[in-house]
Every structure is written in C-alpha cells, then in structure tokens.
Symmetry: none
Subunit: 231 residues, 2 copies
Amino acid sequence: MPLGALHSAPLVEQATTRLREQITSGEWPVGTRLPGEVSLAATLSVGRSTVREALRALAGAGLVRSRQGAGVFVIATEPSREWRDTLRRAAVGDIYEVRMLLEVQAVRLAAVRRTAKDVAAMRAALAARRQAATTDDAAFVDADIALHATVVAAAANPVLDSLFAEFIPALRRGLIELVDLLELRVADANHGDAAHSDLIDAVDAGDGRRAAAVLRAELDSTLRWLRTPTV
Amino acid sequence: MPLGALHSAPLVEQATTRLREQITSGEWPVGTRLPGEVSLAATLSVGRSTVREALRALAGAGLVRSRQGAGVFVIATEPSREWRDTLRRAAVGDIYEVRMLLEVQAVRLAAVRRTAKDVAAMRAALAARRQAATTDDAAFVDADIALHATVVAAAANPVLDSLFAEFIPALRRGLIELVDLLELRVADANHGDAAHSDLIDAVDAGDGRRAAAVLRAELDSTLRWLRTPTV
DNA sequence: TCATCTCAGGTTCTCTGACAACTGGAGAGC
DNA sequence: GCTCTCCAGTTGTCAGAGAACCTGAGATGA
C-alpha cells in the first residue's frame, strides 16, 4: 500500500465530491432536482458517463434518487455525522437519560404490542442474563443490554429498534465502568434479576403502567449514579 | 406520488442488489477481489457500463473500493449507516411515533430546565412560524420543525438535540406531503398556531404535565393521519 | 368549463466501441 | 537476488446512438 497516490483521484471521485459538496453545503437542499446529466457534464467538464457514475455513487450513499425522465432529486443531505459524534462525546449521564426516556416509553408500547414470540425472546434473554451472572462484568452487561433490546423489539417499531442499537456501544462502555466502580456484583452477581423478571411479567400481562414503573425505577437509580460526579 | 412503480427496477439497481447480496451473504468477504467488469457483465447479462454504475453505487454505500488496473475489492460487508438507512426507509408512521415519544418526554424536561433564553428562542421561532404561514407548505413545515427544535433544545440534553436533528429530514418529507395531501392550510394557513402558543406558555410556566398534554394532542392527531393507509 | 388525450422536448437508461492509464506477474538480464 | 521490460488483464473515460420515461402545453370533445 503506497503512502499516498501520486496521481490525482479519478474524475468520478472528484465529480462525486463536488456534487456532494453542493448537497451538504445547503446549495441543493432536500427535494432539489439536480441539473440534467448533460448539463452537469458540461459544468464539470467531464463525460456524461462520468456524471452518471458519480450520481450512482451519491445514490449508493443515499443522498439522491433518480427517476427516469423526471430527473435526479436530493433525498437527504449528508450531515457531518453529528449524531454519532455527539453520542461518542456526550456525558454518559445525558446518553443514559435519553436511553431511559426512550425505553420507558418503549415498554409501554411493548406491553400493548408484544407477541408470544416477543415474550419468549425476553424470557430467553433473562435466562441468558442469569447464565452470564457467573461470568465477568462485560459479559454480564452485554447480556443485560441484550435483554433490554428484546423488550424494545416488542414495541414493534423498527426505528426504535435501530435507535436503541445506536445507544448500545455507549451504554456498554458506561455500564461496565459503573458495575466495576461500584462493585455492584460483589454482593449479588446477578444484580437486578428480580426487577427484570418483574418487567417481563408486566409486559407479558399487558400492564404498561407497571412495566414503565419497574423499568423507570431500575434506570433511574442507575442514572443517579451516572450523574454523580466521580471523585 | 405513485403507489408503486408498475415497471421493473432499472437494471443498474437490480445489478447493485445482486452484487450487494453476494457481499452481505458472506460469499464475498472483506478483502475479496470481485470478478472483473467484463466478466460480471457477462454473468449478469448486462452491459459493462451497467456493471460500472452498479459498482459505483456499492462504492457510494461504502462496501467496495476499486483500484485502477488491480480490481474492485470488498471493504465492508454491511453498510456502516444502519441507523440512517433505517430512518430513510422506515414507514413515516414509525418515524413519527418515535419522534412523538421522544419529544413529549423532552418537553417535560424542558419545563424543568428551560432558561429565559430558551423561552425567548421559542417565542422567536413561533413568530417565524407565523411569518412562514404566508409562504408555501415546505417553508411552513420547516418553520414548524424549527420551533419544535427550540423546545427540544430547552431540555438541555445534547444527545436529545442531536437525535431530534436526525429526525428532521424524514419528518420534513412526511409532513410536507401530509400538509399538501390534507390541504391543512387551505382553511387556516397558520394551522396549529394556538397549540404551539399554549405549548410555549406551559413550558415557560414550568408546567411539564400540561406541556406534554398539549404536545401529545398535537402530535397524536398527526400520527393518526400518518398511520392511515393512503388510497 | 372541465376532463382527457396527444405531442414535443427534455430527461434518464442501456449498450457499444474505442482508447488511455494502471496493475501485477512472468521472464530476461545483470 | 535484484532490477527492468513486457504483456495480459484490469479500471477509467469518452462519445454516440437509440429506447424508455416524464412533464407540460395545447388541442379536442362532452
């Protein structure tokens, strides 16, 4: 692998970058119909095939969509990954607060929408969490998070699922440290088992209010610790 | 907006899907050098240009990378933007439901944490929304969303801010279509002004319960429309 | 007046062919 | 063993042609 290519980037890549900049700079907001291929080729001083390939790259990135005969339209701007940066840099307390907010509402939905299959998955995850109680902190936290993910999944909203998954890396980091710092598992390696069992029972019974209360109590006590300044 | 295209997908999209499946199925793991363009064109029974465009789409999605003379290589087996993909592809009702869930809880926090500066920003945004009432649907929806963003910002949680921003492109799309479809602004160009004014008053007064109720009523009625199957 | 149809111009889609630029491996020479 | 050259195969770019599609304007008919 050379340290750096000494020849310029292929024209398609340059064109892709130029067009992408038009989008991310706000020049072409969502909904904009891009100039036609022939016009863009003239503007960029490249062949039409080069423009087409650049547009395909932007389409593959999810920024544009083309309709034959109608044109190519901006369907998304490419934010600067602000969300993921924020999630990486934010105080764990802020992250956890949003997680809590989301999940407490999610269990209300889960209590309404859960299927027998969802409940079976929750109970299987609870069993796995119990099994992980004999292992190290990281594995235990992973099993705990996996259990919560099954509860969120029962809300039957793919956006929620995906959003919860976005939180997992940060949650994992924060929770492993917290469990270690507080030595939560010294007295009880299966810390929180009763609450999780109650949670699943409540969801199973369709009692959203109770499920939310159980989960809120659990997450709230954790949040309080996460918000406590560390010495 | 057509209910569904009655003609088959463009060949480039089909080829992209086929090639992507080879990657995501594990047939072509990371590091694999794909067959050459000429070979792929023969395999897929399309022209070489079609293959090239499909490969560009995959490159734009971050799955492959090509080196002139050397070949095209798999660099990832999963798109790296699962969350964003979900947000783009999900049913607008699912998106809106999560937005609602988030925002109703956010206003509870906002009612506790708002500063005088936050409230001033909300009122300025309300004024801007009123001004946008004289313009087109898109501008009005933008002003509406901006107002909601000021309310979320008052919750003083950067993760919430950033997360709300993630929803904006999808919300914008859905809401502009809804406003247009239902002709919500024919009778009242400044649709929903009273509710928004009440919302700000409640946040200003620190009445989280009332703020949540006002917002829930607003968002719930919109969600109901978004969940209604379109004829 | 309104609804429907037709047409023209502009758009994207696909293919072909040609040539340029590049890579990597094999073989030859030192 | 190292370096250079050559060659086959690869990607990159362009041009051109025709097909398929979309949209808006205008014409026609009820």
